[in-house]
């Protein structure tokens, strides 16, 4: 699955970091707690979150996250968009809620990866 596929599956818009849309996605992580993302996210993972502040972008940068999906229509500000553009990190905005967004991706074969993997 690529970030482009996720755009379609989640009826999402890409509002920054369009350079990274062709990247391959292997796993997903859904959390509003960046502490947990830093402790549990796998490589080549997308992050689904309802948290909308610059630390979400920083966390993604540190974890080599492939794309960030903001659920419930949360929209990043210009500072966040500039940070994402610089890194080629796609920022997707979906109107769907967290549970539904995760479910839609899981249904298409994306998982959270192995526990302790």
């Amino acid at each position: 699955m690529t970030v482009n596929d996720i755009l379609t599956i989640l009826d999402a818009n890409c509002i920054a970091g369009k350079d990274g849309l062709d990247k391959e996605v292997l796993t997903a992580c859904g959390s509003d707690m960046m502490s947990d993302v830093l402790a549990f996210a796998h490589t080549q993972c997308v992050l689904l979150t309802g948290l909308c502040n610059p630390q979400v972008i920083r966390t993604a940068e540190m974890m080599d996250i492939v794309a960030i999906i903001f659920v419930r229509g949360k929209t990043p500000d210009d500072t966040m968009k500039a940070m994402a553009d610089e890194q080629g990190l796609p920022l997707l905005v979906t109107p769907h809620r967290m549970f539904s967004s995760c479910g839609k991706l899981y249904e298409k074969g994306l998982t959270g990866g192995l526990v302790d993997g």
Binding site: M33, M34, S35, D36, A39, N53, Q55, R58, M62
Partner: protein, 140 residues
């Protein structure tokens, strides 16, 4: 003997939105130096967690990164309140962070355990009312 490189940063606690700038810079420099992606990931996570901790708990501090051929050493020194109970602080899920910090997505009690997990050695020197120095090494 290969050249040893040293990077120094001052972390300010005045603006939480800037937290992670030091870690971001270190990550970029390690990439330029051709350090392996696995080592870079460990350094980035350990340092970012430490940087966030300094801002949440200790009004900022100093970061020193030393890169040699064998390892990367991260030293994070602050003049904060010190850690009252290191054993508890090392437990996953134990947190003393205020609600304001949680609303920003941090303070889940995973910081120190995650720093330990991503480093090959970790040493904490702390004194109440004086400050804390965390030293981590990541082998190359």
């Amino acid at each position: 003997m290969a050249e040893v490189m040293e990077l120094n940063y001052t972390v300010s606690n005045e603006d939480f939105t800037r937290a992670g700038e030091a870690s971001s810079d270190v990550k970029k420099k390690l990439k330029q130096l051709g350090v392996s992606p696995e080592a870079i990931r460990k350094v980035a996570i350990a340092l970012y967690e430490g940087e966030i901790n300094m801002i949440i708990h200790a009004y900022g501090g100093q970061i020193k990164v030393t890169i040699s051929e064998e390892m990367i050493t991260l030293v994070l020194a602050d003049r904060g309140p010190g850690i009252a109970d290191i054993e508890k602080a090392m437990q996953a899920g134990y947190s003393t962070a205020p609600d304001k910090v949680r609303s920003l997505g941090f303070g889940a009690g995973m910081g120190l355990p995650n720093m330990k997990k991503n480093s090959d050695t970790m040493d904490i020197k702390t004194e109440l009312g004086v400050g804390t120095t965390v030293t981590m090494t990541i082998n190359l």
